[in-house]
Amino acid sequence: MINTRQLERNLLVVAGIIMLNGILAVNLAHSVLNYQTLGAVTFIFAGFMAVNIVLCKIGHTGDPLFLPLASLLVGIGLIIILRLKPELFMLQVMWVGVGLSAFLISAILAKRLEQIAYFKYICGFIGVGLLLSAILFGVDIGGNKNWIIMGPVRFQPSEFAKIFIVLFLAAYLSERRELLTLATKHYGPFVLPHPRFIAPLIAVWGLGMLMFVLQRDMGAALLYFGLAIIMTYMVSGRSSYVIIGMISFLVGSVICYNLYSHIQLRVDIWLNPWSDPSGGAYQIVQSLFALGSGGIMGSGLTYGFPTMIPEVHTDFIFAAIGEEMGLIGAGAVILLYILMIYRAFRTSLLSLMPFSMMVAAGLAVSMALQTFLIIAGVIKFFPLTGITLPFISYGGSSIVSNFILLGMLFSISEVRGCDAK
């Protein structure tokens, strides 16, 4: 039987070859070999292998797919960033390096996940605090008012907050799952527990609405709100929570739509981008042009014109992949996410404790929601929301927080690894 760490190593080598191949392709298309970029990629590859070796040494038996899937996504991200914004490439390499360390640390720390449950309120406060800090002190960078600048450091708190919110919700909900299941109060057709048991949920909902209204950050609002509803549903199995949640969110959205012109604009652009293709809908229309021009096979790396899309290296990086790598490349990216999220849910289901089960499921939900919202926005399936594509988009906060998230999942999967029997 093949050792899981050996399997992981083999898969990492495959991902490394794909990454190197892409970097070489971008290099050769410009007819110059930039040894710096090749060195950087080797460094990243070595980093992943080193993580594998460390995990091996300390005897981990976690899911062997997480790390290779992440390295493939990171590789695709690096290739496309080198192609779109070469000046940001080295920074992104650095962030991936930091992310890998964060992965190791969180994978080791999360071994004591159960203890974190005792500090659930602290987690909750940190999460809410991070979100509030963005709301109160947020600075507008590139249209998203969710950056915090502290001296030389700037980061997006909402990327990290999601981990703490998941921890808090998982702990809070798994403790109260009987109360939520055996609801006592009847409100018309709906059955709900006593208000004080769902107060924290209402708080998260309120926070979501606040972000929606004050920060104009529809994506983060949807993410946190969806997270709260879905996690409550998972614990209670009651669809009335989902229905009430959806209704309250819809009501909130309708009010916001009528009150705020920028939300109207986003929705109108989504419904009919062709009515104003060079004005408000410019970005989304350019994104569709990129995807359509890419077709099935793509234009080939560096042969497309993805830079016609404003902010292509952050929000619209998926459209660039679709143009230059075609449906084959963009579809592969979606499949990688599906695989990663599937393994995350599997981790949850294989877990023995309700708390770790909920943490893994919550992290899987947040990853799925985030991936869905940003890709759906870029391909005009859903109104556009400005959130990052996990592991691919440029940006330190996004890379590091997603590696932390993955480290936790890895650690939970270790409790009962895939070859435990």
Binding site: R177, E178, T181, I230, Y233, M234, V235, S236, G237, P277, S278, V285, L288, F289, A290, L291, G292, S293, G294, G295, I296, M297, G298, S299, G300, L301, Y303, G304, F305, M308, G322, G326, L327, A330, G331, I334, L335, Y337, I338, I341, Y342, F345, S348, L349, P354, M357, M358, A361, A364, V365, A368, L369, T371, F372, I375, A376, I379, K380, F381
Partner: protein
Amino acid sequence: MRNDMNDLATNIRKVAFGLLSLLVVLLFYLTYIQVVQSDFLIAHPLNRRTLEASRMIPQGMILDKSGEKLAYSKKVGESFKREYPYGAIAAQVVGYDSITYGRSGVESTFSRDLTGNNTSIAHLGAVSHLLTNRSGNNVVLTLDATVQETAYRALGNHKGAIVAINPNTGAILAMVSKPSFDPNEIDQQWKHISTDKSSPLLNRVTQGLYPPGSTLKVMIAEAARKEKVIDLKEKIYCEAALKIPPDYSLQESHLEAYGNINLEEALAVSSNVFFGTLSLKLGYKKMENIFERFGFKRSVGQELQEVASHLPDFSSLGDGDLAQTGIGQGSLLVTPLRMAMLASSFANEGKIMRPYLVDKITGLDGSLIKTFAPEEWLTPTTPQLADEINKMMVRVVRNGTGTAASLPGVLVAGKTGTAENSQGDSHAWFIGFAPADNPQVAIAVIVENAGFGGSIAAPMARQVFKAALQ
């Protein structure tokens, strides 16, 4: 406790299934965008990608029928720029090519051939970069640069249009629209060119709508003969004006009374009273039918981007308006191309060939990639009737209103027109063909607000005939 864990697992499984399905739906939608919608998105006029891509390779040349360069790519730094040696002379036909303002003319309609983007290997993605020769194909037009230049000079400083076609094939030999613009300067001069009130960007040959005036009388003459409302010897007494009850009066242009004249004489002097009378004899049903027969209600195809003629609603026409339509006035509006095609039907034994501008597509090495064969479009009339009208049109040039179009040693057929219009002075028209006994070129000339067709348009036609027959 165990049961409880099972419930939790069941719920998580449901959520997992739901969320993963959402991502699968995204995969399907992405496939829809990149496969089904792909062609629409690539061809969308706001998508500048093909335009940008075409800058990276030398695009094919646009050549006239004898290989004269009308457009070619010149390397400027990293990318290529289009050069137009004939400048304003063929601007509306050849078109322009600008990153900012897009393409027009042949540059636009044949852009896929010129950029070499029509090859099936373009769908191979990255692999195609290894296989393509990285340059476009040449587009060879039916245009004759000498005739084009002559027509351009002949129009002088007037606004107007001249189109010359080969009546036997439909090949367009010259297509001039004035005022024009210099496609070499399109980026620098765009603001001026695009906002100029005299519309230099408009190709008046295919997109200018004008009342045809008396040039239409050749068609009414044919119809009168076909419908047998008159025979060749029959005379009609023409006063200076035709009184049409209840209170309308159709006048001769100089209030001249021609007296007793037959059809041939009436066409030679262009009698309004005579043709007004014929129109009334034909009636609105038959009149509508003539326009139908000569193709005024049909499109000649996409390539020339012609605008549709504007015909009156015949069933509701009063007698006065019907008589007006018969002399090419009223609400009737047509393109110069249509009038050249009308003339060509009498030159080509009653057949109208489909007008075409592109003769063939050739590779870089001159290899033939695609040819466009002449195509019969309509047969509005019989060879006998076409011959009758042909002879009458010869008379117009020999000793009628069109003498200024005559050439020594060549039998020229024609018809002049002076079309009244709501925008100021009358438009001068001439349509015709030469040599009348073996037609090689059919023509339509319109000079906006220039007065009499016989004195303004006919001499221009003469110059074009001369150049085309050389």
